[in-house]
């Protein structure tokens, strides 16, 4: 039972939706394609014109061969994976606990604590660097994966607090009350009732933190020195130094660093999607 007018509007809306989507996809996917293509071009080709097709495949093959011979990317990959997964998982749990009580309970200091957590996003990164390095060195964690992981715990605090508190706010309070009436303790109310229901918020916060940590190079470069603790983004920095410019290798290295991150993210996204869908059904 659709009238002609309604049909027209429906079509128009659809068309506009697809225009927005196509635009989004184009502006997002174009850079990565450009990076990958550039890794198969010579310096002169890259600098000569941005949108030329590589003349031969061998330039890129040579660059990738060089990179895998000179650098142990597998090791860097696992370092990156370990550091980002552990720091994201731990901080997600911590911030979920924090966000949960801030959202659902009244207690002295609630306002001030939330304010303090949110102002963390206002501290300029460059002003933070020195004291944090000092702290890590004092803990004897210089050049360890633990040190880097510890620093990453602190990243994304404000963002995650916002997101998670918002998520827990949208979970009806009645659920807690009935759970508590059933005899569930404080922890169980959090872990068995609220935590599963907050999955989509946890996923969003987790993905944002994970990608942030995966790409972080500033602290990783400062706090590690030996190869065994090197992460992927640090290795990338070697191709970005003054007076040495090998764009072919830089883009090849970038591809090696970025692609696993994107693959991981896409995989995780799919998983999260399904789990959110199932938890929604239970609800």
């Amino acid at each position: 039972m659709v009238t002609g007018k309604k049909d027209f509007r429906w079509v128009l809306t659809r068309i506009m939706m697809y225009i927005v989507m196509i635009f989004t996809v184009v502006v997002s996917i174009f850079p990565i394609i450009w990076v990958v293509i550039s890794s198969f071009k010579t310096n002169a080709e890259i600098l000569g014109g941005a949108f030329t097709v590589p003349s031969s495949f061998s330039v890129g093959a040579e660059a990738y061969r060089y990179l895998f011979e000179q650098y142990n990317f597998l090791l860097y990959f696992f370092n990156s994976l370990l550091i980002s997964v552990v720091s994201t998982a731990v901080s997600l749990l911590f911030y979920a606990m924090g966000g949960y009580v801030l959202a659902k309970y009244r207690f002295p200091g609630r306002g001030i604590l939330f304010a303090l957590f949110t102002i963390t996003m206002l501290v300029p990164g460059h002003s933070k660097a020195q004291p944090i390095m000092q702290l890590i060195v004092n803990f004897n964690l210089y050049d360890t994966k633990t040190g880097v992981t510890l620093v990453y715990l602190s990243s994304g605090m404000a963002m995650s607090m916002f997101l998670l508190r918002g998520t827990f706010l949208s979970i009806p309070k009645e659920l807690d009350e009935s759970a508590m009436l059933d005899g569930a303790g404080f922890f169980r109310t959090f872990w068995s009732i609220n935590f599963p229901l907050a999955k989509s918020g946890l996923a969003t916060a987790g993905i944002l933190m994970f990608l942030g940590n995966w790409n972080e190079y500033f602290y990783a470069a400062l706090l590690t020195s030996s190869e065994k603790n090197r992460t992927l983004p640090v290795a990338l920095q070697f191709f970005n130094q003054s007076f040495s410019y090998d764009y072919t290798k830089m883009f090849a290295a970038l591809t090696i660093v970025v692609l696993p991150g994107i693959l991981l993210y896409m995989c995780a996204q799919e998983q999260v999607q399904q789990s959110v869908a199932t938890s929604g059904m239970k609800n």
């Binding site: 509007r9 939706m17 989507m21 635009f23 996809v25 502006v27 997002s28 850079p31 990565i32 450009w34 014109g49 941005a50 949108f51 749990l93 911590f94 606990m97 924090g98 009580v101 309970y105 604590l113 304010a115 303090l116 102002i119 963390t120 996003m121 206002l122 501290v123 300029p124 990164g125 460059h126 002003s127 933070k128 020195q130 004291p131 944090i132 702290l135 620093v151 715990l153 602190s154 605090m157 963002m159 916002f162 997101l163 508190r165 706010l169 949208s170 009806p172 404080f186 989509s200 969003t204 944002l208 990608l211 970038l254 970025v258 991150g261 994107i262 993210y265 896409m266 996204q269 799919e270």
Partner: protein, 299 residues
């Protein structure tokens, strides 16, 4: 908004120890990684400090220097404009994408996943990409414009006032955080609500305007907050493209801060840091008030 503060009930009090236990990890992280930096930044902003040797107190002279500096004035002006653009166009675009994705058109999952990619590419590579987009001779943008106006020539990053807009375009459409935050709130809307509205005869547009948009107030607030604070701290997309130029046209406080560090003027750098911090606090307070954040949007 004046609410009478109710005293804490017996049940509430019983949970205090749990509550503080839950907050403990976050508080510890905050204490470790933020208290010291914030404190150092604050007090050394009143000193002359090279970042290494003992600082010497010099009153508010660092602040006087910031406020008498013409580049800092331009930075503040730019920050204001960029904040407005972030709040309107940038967040607007992110929200738009979120609403489109919420209706699950074909390929929405793919779009959502792909939208994240720009955030994963290192800033140095971005700088190079932008230079090719905005280059006069081989650039994509001017190439396209010249299809219509054959005599068009403009060095986007290197002439005023085009440079301001070129820098703006480096982040304008990359609003994936806004989209994710809003989308997450949209998905939390109970399906019953949609169904009820549908039965009441709400059309798709009306539903969006009167039901969905108000319900993701919190998310939009968060998004605005995050996008403005990232404008305050925005560094690489300026430093690696225009470095604040031409002249001081696209200058930002963060670029000035790093310049001061380059010259080992840490006291001055931290004074700039404090100003950025205070600007952020003001934004935080205003957005919180306007969007009544922290209250459940369902109530």
């Amino acid at each position: 908004m004046a609410k009478v503060k109710q005293p804490y009930g017996k049940v509430e009090k019983r949970y205090f120890k749990w509550i503080y236990l839950f907050l403990l990890p976050t508080v510890v992280i905050f204490a470790m990684f933020y208290v010291q930096p914030i404190w150092t930044m604050l007090w050394t902003s009143f000193t002359k400090w090279d970042g290494f040797n003992d600082p010497t107190f010099n009153g508010v002279s660092n602040y006087v220097r910031v406020f008498t500096n013409s580049a800092a004035a331009i930075s503040l002006k730019n920050l204001l404009y960029w904040s407005i653009i972030a709040m309107t166009l940038h967040v607007g675009f992110g929200v738009l994408v979120a609403f489109v994705l919420y209706h699950h058109p074909k390929g929405w999952k793919f779009t959502r996943a792909v939208f994240m990619i720009p955030n994963v590419i290192s800033a140095a590579a971005w700088a190079l990409i932008y230079r090719f987009i905005f280059d006069d001779n081989v650039g994509l943008l001017n190439g396209a414009i010249r299809k219509i106006f054959p005599n068009f020539h403009l060095q986007w990053f290197y002439t005023s006032p085009a440079a301001f807009w070129a820098v703006t375009f480096t982040w304008l459409f990359y609003a994936v955080i806004v989209t994710l935050v809003v989308l997450q709130d949209l998905m939390a809307i109970p399906t019953e609500l949609d169904e009820a509205a549908h039965l009441d005869g709400c059309t798709g547009w009306q539903m969006t305007r009167y039901i969905h948009l108000p319900l993701c107030r919190n998310a939009v607030g968060t998004a605005i907050l995050c996008s403005i604070t990232s404008r305050i701290s925005m560094y690489e997309c300026i430093a690696l493209t225009t470095a604040g130029g031409p002249g001081d046209d696209t200058m930002s406080l963060s670029v000035l801060l790093v310049r001061a560090i380059t010259d080992y003027n840490y006291g001055y750098a931290n004074a700039i840091g404090v100003i950025m911090f205070i600007f952020g606090l003001i934004i935080l307070a205003v957005v919180n008030k306007v969007f009544r954040m922290g209250e459940s949007s369902l109530s």
